[in-house]
């Protein structure tokens, strides 16, 4: 079959041969609960968006407007959210209303209702009760201005046994409503691990060469501080103990690279964005990568070999 020759990984293969084997169930909470992820990162010296506050019970919602007075902009997200669901990005205030990233206004009431939905588990796995995280809104690095429409572009790096194996940048579009999720209409571009430059881009499962909204080319774009990003990804993997991990990082114009979240079941669209399957690279790491110890060694190993496997 052509797909398996191309080393494309399907969901069954990912679950059977990688997640079930390399990701111990007890380590899942570290990445499923974004509060724990944050704490873990802080302890390891990895920068994260600053935590403003946590809402844990319904009663606290009343104090939300007062609490938010201090912050002109912020992000609300469920601690156990999946697939980017339930995230609300507020960029400013207009009188009593909050302005969302896409320019829409939400009233205080609507925002409170959203928090209540989060607490009741609307966005969490299995509908269990959840917490709402209020945190620093990332202001993306101006280098992305040309290829980004609203929202914040984030960089997804797949790390296997501590080795970065594949990366992509997800660029919000008008269609994705400022969100960086491919299935919501964001644009994904593969990144060459060796150089940190974008490869081809995919939008709605089709190969594109320019951003659908800004019409600027998205190919061969250099991601700043690439080595640093790879180091964060590798260290995340070491901190969690998860062998097969997706690490999402954003580049803030002031604070530099910030760890946004981790995913123990990273999606497979990265293969489409890179126009290449994961399996050959994962197999290469399995056979050749075991002996290396330090994070820096692993990153340089990946930068040297991963891009050659194409």
């Amino acid at each position: 079959m052509k797909l398996s020759q191309a080393g494309v990984m399907g969901i069954n293969r990912r679950n059977c041969d990688y997640i079930h084997i390399y990701n111990p169930r007890r380590d899942y909470p570290l990445v499923d609960d974004k509060l724990r992820t944050k704490q873990l990162a802080i302890n390891a010296g990895i920068a994260v968006p600053e935590l403003y506050g946590v809402i844990e019970i319904e009663h606290q919602i009343r104090e939300l407007p007062d609490f938010l007075k201090k912050y002109p902009d912020f992000v609300l997200k469920p601690a156990h959210g999946t697939g980017g669901e339930g995230i609300e990005v507020i960029v400013g205030k207009v009188k009593n209303a909050y302005k969302k990233a896409n320019g829409q206004l939400v009233s205080e009431e609507q925002l409170q209702h959203h928090v209540s939905n989060i607490l009741n588990g609307l966005f969490s796995l299995g509908g269990q009760e959840d917490k709402t995280i209020i945190e620093y809104r990332v202001k993306f690095d101006p280098v992305f201005d040309a290829i980004c429409f609203q929202g914040v572009p984030d960089i997804r790096i797949i790390v296997f046994l501590g080795f970065p194996v594949m990366a992509m940048i997800r660029l919000p579009t008008q269609m994705s409503g400022g969100k960086a999720n491919l299935h919501q209409g964001a644009l994904g571009a593969g990144i060459d691990l060796a150089t940190g430059r974008t490869l081809n881009a995919v939008w709605k499962n089709e190969i594109v060469f320019e951003h659908p909204d800004t019409h600027n080319p998205v190919q061969d774009f250099a991601i700043p501080r690439w080595e640093e990003l790879l180091m964060i990804a590798t260290r995340c993997s070491e901190q969690t103990g998860l062998g097969y991990l997706g690490v999402d990082i954003v580049l803030d114009r002031v604070k530099g690279p910030l760890l946004l979240e981790m995913n123990a079941r990273p999606g497979l669209s990265i293969q489409i964005a890179n126009h290449f399957g994961l399996i050959h690279r994962l197999e290469f790491i399995k056979t050749n990568g075991r002996l290396l110890g330090s994070a820096a060694d692993k990153v340089s190993f990946s930068r040297r070999y991963m891009s050659r496997i194409r």
């Binding site: 079959m1 052509k2 797909l3 399907g10 669901e85 209702h113 089709e206 489409i272």
Partner: protein, 507 residues
């Protein structure tokens, strides 16, 4: 290494299920396809007599489980009579008794029996001995003379018996036989005489009575035959045709002398026996066979449960088949559904509504619920009260659908009540979230996927052969479990992924 463990476990489960299945098919004769009929007969014995205000006792010989027949079911219909069953000397007798009865009395015995095609020989019997009959004087001389004559014309025991039958049949020309029969040339008396003569030679023989159960059905009379003990076996000899060996359609009722019915305390006895072939499904016949062959296994099987419970399980047992279908659809094909097992529950509801009307009802219900759910979104309700509100609305909608379709005379609309309302509520909630978060097309796509999965599961679960197989052979569940376990480690592509990654395959 893990996989080998799984394969061994699955293979064991599979073989265990297959083994039990084959055993039941081959040795117990359970039918593999639905609606197979076997040799099942209904026997009815009607006893009429006049009672005259005195205590009455009626003895009736009834069949027991035999090598060539098994009793599937029997009942005794006798208003006011006490019923008990005696088993003695290999005979089974029902005793009806009443303290006082008057006028015409009618008692019934009904049995459903199945003719078995067993070729197996009888288990070895213990030694049977017989004492010479105490003939005296002239009788002894006559008997010895007859025996002498028969022995001269015969080579072994069987031919000796056949010669005796021949001699006794021609009693008119033989004074010796005439003497022994004492002028009563009835068949039973003849056979008794033969048995007595054989006893002089210490050959055990006995008189047997029963019914001929074969293609000619209707009113029948009991027939008698001779059984002679030769080479550790009772050999049947038909006195009329001189046929040796059991024909297979002789249903033994009693051994020894006597009539089929003995009446004490009544007059004008009439006995009518009716034999009819019935269309009973062969499952119950096979199950009875299991009951006879393996009483312990039968006791712990599905068939021993009360009928109501069996009916519940007949539904439950088809669920694993549906679940297997769902595993295939989700992990092999990649169809997305709302909720893991939601399509199975919908498919179960389709059993009552039928497929087309079920699909229509479900779509109407979900569409109406979704519309109201979008309105509720404006009210900013807390999650659990909102779910509760949707559930209540779903029930109201179901009621309205039933009433409207009843008014319009659409009968299938009434069965909307059988839809699992909690599942529908959760479907509506999930669908509205997906609708808002990911857009209408994704929500509708997943909704259609769920309906497709439910329809396929319904069609397979209700396929009469599948339904029959899981109900008659619950051990097939082990095989389904084995398949499910194997699929649990299937790491190949899903069918829909081939399309998703199409661009990557072209390289």
């Amino acid at each position: 290494m893990n996989n080998r463990h799984l394969y061994i476990l699955s293979a064991l489960l599979f073989l265990f299920g297959l083994g039990l299945f084959l055993y039941k098919v081959v040795f117990l004769g359970f039918p593999v396809t639905p609606g197979q009929e076997t040799n099942v007969w209904e026997i009815e014995v009607k006893v009429n007599f006049i009672a005259s205000d005195r205590p009455v006792k009626v003895y009736l010989y009834v069949p027991r489980n035999l090598r060539n027949f098994s009793i599937i079911n029997e009942n005794f219909i006798s208003r006011g009579y006490g019923t008990s069953i005696n088993t003695s000397d290999g005979n089974r007798q029902v005793v009806w008794s009443i303290r006082r009865a008057n006028g015409l009395q009618t008692l019934y015995y009904r049995a459903i029996v199945e003719k078995l095609e067993s070729k197996q020989s009888a288990t070895a019997l213990k030694e049977v001995k017989t004492e010479p009959y105490s003939y005296e004087g002239a009788d002894l001389e006559a008997a010895t003379a007859i025996l002498q004559e028969a022995r001269q014309k015969s080579a072994d025991t069987i031919s000796l018996v056949l010669q005796l039958i021949e001699l006794v049949k021609n009693y008119e020309t033989d004074d010796n036989v005439n003497l022994l029969l004492r002028g009563k040339p009835e068949q039973e008396n003849m056979l008794e005489t033969i048995i007595n003569i054989l006893s002089l030679e210490t050959i055990p023989a006995r008189l047997a009575h029963g019914l001929k159960v074969n293609e000619q059905f209707g009113k029948v009379q009991p027939v008698s035959w001779l059984e002679v003990y030769i080479d550790n076996q009772w050999v049947t000899i038909d006195p009329l045709t001189s046929q040796i060996g059991q024909t297979g359609d002789q249903l033994l009722l009693w051994l020894g002398t006597g009539r089929i019915v003995n009446l004490v305390g009544g007059q004008d006895l009439h006995v009518d026996i009716n034999v009819t072939q019935t269309g009973l499904e062969s499952i119950s016949a096979a199950s009875t066979r299991e009951k006879i062959l393996h009483p312990v296994i039968w006791k712990y099987s599905l068939n021993s449960l009360p009928l109501d419970t069996q009916r519940v399980y007949s539904v439950l047992l088809s669920v694993p088949v549906g679940v297997l279908i769902l595993v295939l659809l989700r992990n092999l094909i990649g169809i997305k559904t709302f909720g893991t097992f939601m399509p199975i529950l919908i498919a179960l509801a389709f059993r009552e509504t039928q497929l087309i009307s079920g699909l229509v009802l479900f779509s109407v219900l979900v569409a109406a619920g979704l519309t109201i759910r979008f309105y509720l979104e404006k009210l900013k309700l807390l999650l659990v009260p909102r779910l509760a509100a949707v559930l209540i609305i779903v029930i109201i909608l179901m009621l309205m659908l039933s009433i409207i379709s009843n008014q319009l005379g659409i009968e299938s609309g009434l069965s909307v009540a059988l839809f699992p309302m909690v599942i529908i509520t959760m479907t509506i909630e999930r669908m509205s979230i997906v609708w808002e978060e990911l857009g209408a097309h994704v929500a509708i796509y997943q909704g259609l996927g769920s309906l497709l999965a439910a329809s396929i599961a319904f069609l397979v679960m209700n396929f009469s052969l599948v339904h029959h197989l899981v109900n008659v052979f619950p051990e097939l569940l082990f095989m389904i479990l084995a398949f499910t376990l194997i699929f649990g480690r299937y790491s190949g592509y899903r069918l829909l992924e081939l399309r998703r990654f199409k661009s990557l395959a072209g390289k």
